[in-house]
């Protein structure tokens, strides 16, 4: 499993982050997802790539974690403005640029499936069919989620006048 961890931990972590909006929780969800995948290897039928199967596991794990979090405190989306593990580092924030920060903040406002579809297309380069497998929808629905997500981002961007 070591090789699989090295190969897939980034994508698994980023999807968990897109759902949970918190670096520490995303790391927990990533670890838990690998353990669940290990326990469920016998259920892996090979009709999807291992990577998308693993991403579907972390999607479920992160959603369950978000539900538990929301019962304990505020919605994970309320905490999604600063996302990365180094979010409090002012040097890093400046280096990333205002535009990138703003785009990420706007993305955090989208519905979960739109957020995942955009992130999986941009970060992991998944096809719409693969995105559908991960978010639990058809290829067409994945395409629609991506499309609506980008359009909504544009609208939010324009509303705030931050498109400079």
């Amino acid at each position: 499993m070591d090789l699989l961890v090295d190969r897939h931990q980034g994508a698994v972590y980023r999807l968990a982050l897109a759902i949970l909006g918190d670096g520490d929780r995303a790391a927990d969800a990533t670890q838990e997802s690998f353990i669940k995948a290990y326990r469920s290897l016998g259920d892996f039928r090979g009709d999807a790539a291992f990577g998308t199967w693993l991403l579907a596991i972390v999607r479920n794990e992160a959603r369950a974690m978000a539900r538990r979090d929301s019962r304990r405190r505020t919605s994970p989306l309320d905490r999604a403005a600063g996302i990365s593990a180094g979010e409090n580092d002012p040097v890093e924030r400046i280096a990333r640029g205002r535009t990138a920060e703003r785009a990420r903040e706007l993305l955090a406002r989208l519905p979960e499936k739109q957020r995942m579809a955009v992130r999986l297309r941009i970060d992991e380069g998944l096809s719409f069919r693969e995105v559908g497998e991960v978010i639990g929808s058809s290829e067409g629905a994945a395409r629609v989620n991506y499309h609506h997500g980008v359009r909504r981002l544009r609208e939010l961007w324009t509303e705030k006048g931050d498109s400079e």
Partner: protein, 162 residues
């Protein structure tokens, strides 16, 4: 401006931004993005988002590998999984209590009516309820069952069976 061309371009913007596109197709996308404000804004946003691609925190891979090795050995509990046990234990305890109750009542010397040799021990519990002690252990709820006839108790036990 929203056209059929926009509908064709928007889905492939990620591939265009990553440079994973045939040259002629890339030129076509580039020309459209330069001319269309909507698609230009979309491309700018997606490029900005691509710049926020996160990497896992240092040490996460090793942490996961350690957890998997522990899982492989089948022993050590893995941090982050305890909540599952906290959800399961109360249910197991409840089922165990019912089984203990049923088994103890049936095995009481002199039958379930139980006065027999069972020794009643009243404990001062916070709830004020009573706990009955038989030779086999504690029997919670025994006073209630004690009011039932043998036929009624059999009916209750039959209802408890899955």
């Amino acid at each position: 401006m929203r056209t059929d061309e926009c509908a064709r371009i928007l889905p492939v913007l990620p591939e265009w931004l990553r440079g994973e596109m045939e040259e002629a197709e890339a030129r076509s996308v580039e020309a459209h993005v330069a001319a269309c404000a909507d698609c230009g804004a979309g491309a700018e946003l997606l490029r900005a988002l691509a710049g926020t691609r996160e990497e896992p925190p240092p040490g996460l891979a090793e942490r996961i590998k350690d957890a998997l090795r522990a899982e492989e050995k089948g022993g050590d509990p893995v941090p982050g999984t305890r909540w599952e046990w906290s959800a399961v234990v109360p249910r197991v305890a409840a089922v165990g209590a019912v089984l203990l109750l049923a088994a103890t009542v049936l095995l009481l010397p002199g039958g379930w009516e139980g006065g027999g040799e069972a020794e009643r021990v009243e404990l001062a519990l916070e709830s004020g309820s009573e706990v009955w002690l038989s030779d086999d252990g504690f029997v919670a709820g025994a006073p209630l069952l004690g009011d039932l006839s043998e036929e009624e108790l059999v009916a209750v036990l039959e209802e408890m069976e899955p």
